[in-house]
């Protein structure tokens, strides 16, 4: 009887191991929705030689996943950022409304040099658009910052334990290296450029010689019950030059983000397992 029991237990243990080995793996996408309040300074000499300062709100969506189940060293990620607000000249005699969109797609290599400390390094291609409207200007009430960049991009995450909670301190940085940008001459009106088609010298190659900056976020990730939150600061400082005009954008923001993971199932190849219930069945 004893022999029989040992045999059954060992068989059960083998079966359990086999079950673990054959378990289907799924790639999770880690995503975050971020809201922020920001204070921004602009220098746009096409619109005004003065520095405009103001505040606005921002939204950011970011997602990241590994390339494949087999390759968990390299991940791909994408970001979409929106920013809108209003800024004033120093004497507060004029206001500038602004609205910006930035979309980026990149890849990163994951490293863990020491315990509890992880590093991601890679590149990011982004498309940056900022619409600025200074209503009282005549024939030059609008300027657009438009550019596309290849950025170096990286992050460093450190696991910390505070107040009996596991937290992560995460620094995320990107900086443009190469790209292309739209900068008109200060004397060329949009009427002349887009009404009459004078597009001479409005597109410029950009690299470290004429466009420099950094976009960094320092966030603390906290798990609260069944949710994960990040709070922290964002800082962007960008400076670029073309056609003898020097532009500047400084942005400091207070951010809060909710973080979640999800897996996607679609089509024949990525069909959801039978124990998953979908309203689309």
């Amino acid at each position: 009887m004893k022999k029989c029991l040992i045999y059954i237990l060992s068989m059960l243990s083998c079966f359990a191991t086999a079950q673990t080995t054959n378990e289907q793996k799924y790639l999770l996408t880690s995503a975050s929705n971020t809201l922020g309040y920001s204070v921004t300074d602009f220098i746009d000499p096409y619109l005004s030689p003065l520095t405009y300062s103001g505040s606005g709100i921002g939204y950011n969506f970011q997602s990241q996943r590994f390339l494949s189940i087999e390759n968990t060293r390299i991940s791909k990620f994408q970001k979409l950022s929106l920013l809108a607000g209003k800024a004033y000249n120093p004497p507060h005699t004029a206001s500038m409304s602004y609205f910006g969109v930035n979309y980026g797609w990149g890849m990163r290599c994951h490293l863990q040099p020491i315990n509890r400390f992880r590093v991601q390094l890679g590149g990011l291609w982004d498309l940056d658009f900022m619409f600025k409207y200074l209503a009282r200007n005549v024939n030059n009430p609008v300027n657009v910052d438009l550019g596309t960049n290849l950025n170096v991009s990286g992050s460093a995450t450190y696991d910390i334990s505070l107040f009996r909670k596991n937290m992560k301190l995460k620094l995320d940085v990107k900086s443009p290296v190469l790209g292309c940008m739209f900068v008109p001459y200060s004397g060329a009106s949009y009427y002349e450029m887009f009404g009459l088609g004078n597009l001479d010298n409005i597109l410029h190659f950009s690299s470290l010689h004429n466009k420099r900056g950094v976009d960094a976020n320092l966030m603390l990730e906290i798990q609260l019950r069944s949710t994960v939150w990040r709070v922290g600061l964002g800082y962007e400082s960008m400076k670029w030059e073309a056609n003898d005009l020097i532009f500047k954008r400084n942005n400091l923001s207070l951010k809060i983000a909710s973080v979640f993971d999800f897996a996607t199932f679609a089509g024949h190849k990525k069909r959801a397992p039978s124990n998953f219930i979908s309203p689309n069945e």
């Binding site: 220098i43 030689p49 003065l50 004497p91 005699t93 005549v138 001459y185 200060s186 060329a188």
Partner: protein
């Protein structure tokens, strides 16, 4: 090791090409004067064409600047300095005043009387209004008359079609742009396109590409297209006076090159430079001519455009409710 040194050198060279921001003057009378003077020195487009010695003006006006002067006194002084440019497109705007140069029309005969065009002989009381176009048949229904008081009010193709349909039995058309001091160049282009059979180069434009007084881009052709659906090819007479300025100056320049069009009246007021804006440290706005415009012979149109037939408003005609310039136009439409 050499390879790393080279990379290091390259990185240092890239960052050494620093982007120095232009100096923003302090918000003092002297700082605002310096800022205003520099904006005009580097961005105004007619300093050389008008043979203005802007450096002498700097010396002369700098001597008059005191920090004791209040905002009104300082504003007036800066307004007088800007009037040295003799340009109706140059203004200084503050919260309490707007400097202006009006001698481009105040030094000349008005050649326009608004009461006359609203008399029974012309628009009368029952004239039609289609957005910015006021129109009526005159000369016993033989001639169509459109008064266009501004290129800011706007009109669309349907408005133009309505007016031209109303004049379908008329021998010709008068477009009166006297006292029209401008507005949108798009409206000028839209209206003139109805009088062209085919696209034509009707002018040129340049813009500043540097801080020097002669740093201009190459001239860009300004074309007037033929309107896709609206074609009015009967006789047209455009009436002008010295207050026909800016976008109206552009309208007259385009119309002069349309077939079957004559310009009658006084020389236009000019305003051939497309204006842009900038700011002083105290928040005042300055508007200035930035992009010079030329006719199809590359002649500057800043000082105005001569009419084909010069005519002026006679005082004895006015006493009889007659507009001499409109009457002249009627006689030219056969």
């Amino acid at each position: 090791m050499k390879k790393y040194n080279l990379i290091l050198l390259l990185v240092v060279a890239l960052f050494a090409s620093c982007m120095e921001e232009p100096i923003v003057e302090p918000n003092t009378n002297m700082g605002n004067f310096e800022s205003l003077w520099r904006i005009i020195d580097t961005k105004y487009c007619y300093l050389d064409y008008k043979q203005i010695n802007w450096d002498s003006i700097y010396t002369a006006y700098k001597a008059k600047i005191t920090e004791k002067a209040d905002a009104f006194v300082f504003f007036d002084l800066m307004g007088i300095m800007l009037n040295e440019l003799k340009d109706g497109h140059v203004n200084l705007y503050s919260n309490f005043d707007r400097s202006r140069y009006w001698k481009w029309y105040t030094d000349y005969p008005a050649n326009f009387n608004v009461n006359l065009i609203h008399s029974a002989r012309y628009l009368g009381n029952n004239y039609k209004i289609a957005n910015g176009l006021s129109y009526q048949k005159i000369a016993n229904g033989r001639v169509g008359y459109i008064y266009l008081g501004s290129f800011s009010y706007g009109f669309n193709d349907a408005n133009i079609v309505s007016a031209l349909n109303y004049f379908k039995d008329c021998k010709g058309l008068i477009i009166d742009v006297r006292n029209n001091s401008g507005g949108s160049l798009d409206y000028s282009r839209q209206l003139t396109s109805c009088f062209f059979k085919e696209e034509k180069v009707t002018g040129y434009i340049k813009h500043k590409i540097g801080n020097g007084h002669t740093d201009f881009s190459k001239a860009l052709e300004v074309k007037t297209p033929a309107h896709k659906y609206i074609q009015y090819l009967r006789q047209v007479v455009v009436l002008t006076n010295r207050m026909s300025f800016s976008a109206t100056n552009d309208f007259v320049n385009r119309m002069k090159q349309a077939p079957n069009v004559l310009v009658v009246g006084d020389k236009t007021g000019g305003g051939g430079g497309l204006p842009l804006s900038s700011e002083l440290p105290n928040g005042w706005l300055v508007r200035f001519s930035s992009s010079p415009m030329f006719d199809s012979d590359m002649q500057n149109i800043e000082w105005g455009i001569e009419p084909d037939v010069r005519e002026s408003l006679k005082s004895y005609d006015q006493l009889n409710d007659i507009d001499t310039i409109i009457e002249k136009a009627i006689t030219l439409i056969k």
